[in-house]
Symmetry: C2
Subunit: 222 residues, 2 copies
Amino acid sequence: MPQPSAPRKATGRPPRISRAEVIETARRIVDAEGMDRLTMRRLATEVGSTPMALYHHVRNKEELLVLLLDDYAARTLHRPELPARPRERIVVAAAAIHEALAACPWIVEVLTADDLMSTSALWFVEQIVDGLVECGLSPERAVQAYRVIWYYTAGEIVVRTTAARRRTDDDRPTYRERVFSDLDPGELPRLTQVADRWASLTAEDTYLDGLRALVDGLLTPR
Amino acid sequence: MPQPSAPRKATGRPPRISRAEVIETARRIVDAEGMDRLTMRRLATEVGSTPMALYHHVRNKEELLVLLLDDYAARTLHRPELPARPRERIVVAAAAIHEALAACPWIVEVLTADDLMSTSALWFVEQIVDGLVECGLSPERAVQAYRVIWYYTAGEIVVRTTAARRRTDDDRPTYRERVFSDLDPGELPRLTQVADRWASLTAEDTYLDGLRALVDGLLTPR
DNA sequence: ACCTGAACACCGTTCAAGT
DNA sequence: ACCTGAACACCGTTCAAGT
């Protein structure tokens, strides 16, 4: 976090809770019971305080979520050995970001609440952009190519974790299942052909294959 | 919707409101005031009824959102003339889905609430899968390639509309801006190099370029 | 400077009863 | 069959006051 926290005057009432304590407690709640159980009221009782006390440590709930993602990234995004070949380096760095996010089911709410721009993630972004430049893209094109990779990565996470959540919610057939059981073979021959395999095909993890195809496409001059 | 709505017995109290009326009113609220103003209570007063009456026409709020997306897709997703060349057909069909979603700022909440599997969208999915098969992929690989395209498309929508919402929310510097104004050039040379151009570069619409790169990559044998 | 209590202005959904 | 009223069990946030 870019907050050098100016040295506080030692006047006034001493603090009973800290920002770090708030974030840590929030993390505990989310890990144990899921993101939708994290409310300001619940968090307040958990830190042994009142809802309003929290607002002295975070601006509002949205800032709390960003801080939570930041904290998560700082703790889990460890820098791997990256391959020397730039194209491979791009793939491995993107896959590392993806892996960290995929392990974190509450991420979707935060992804849609802010860019993923934790300082801990920047090193990975740097590796990707640098790899793209080394492969011959201009810095401008490299940034745009990185964005494309990020869209793909974020989209995979959002779609997949949402689908997973939906599956555990109940066991009624999903909307998709109902639609797919009633296709018109005349109009939609391909979909009819694969309808019964659709669920198993979409369950497969194709992130890495797609990523490689995407990187290849981005690096092929057009 | 795959709901043939079995012929109702003509007994009991006659209905005052219909499912279609509920959906239409919901759409009016969302169009006029945004998704977060759509509540069951608000919707009830708008149709001139009570919150609980709605639950006789939709299962719950989530189903209402899916019905809303379905209704939107049916009204706006008109089938364009598609190019004969399969590779171009894939691109145009995906871009048509993307365009319809991008014009619909409340889409994100629904995207993360369910797959986009409106019957109206299936024709486009069919075109994409068929184009991929015509380009030489097996039906299984074609479905997986379609999923990759869908991840990319959904991710672009989610990230971009969320960023747009964030910008209009207030005019404080965003978290990203704060992070980018304080980069370490030694550790992150590429990002430092493009830091001042980052905002304008990411504002550019690169969906189509990225899509073409992705399709090229997916169709290149590896 | 930090914390508290009470209140404001809401939510989605269930239950039991009415017509 | 369809609708209503009242209630349940919550939300995030503001305000004014206390220490």
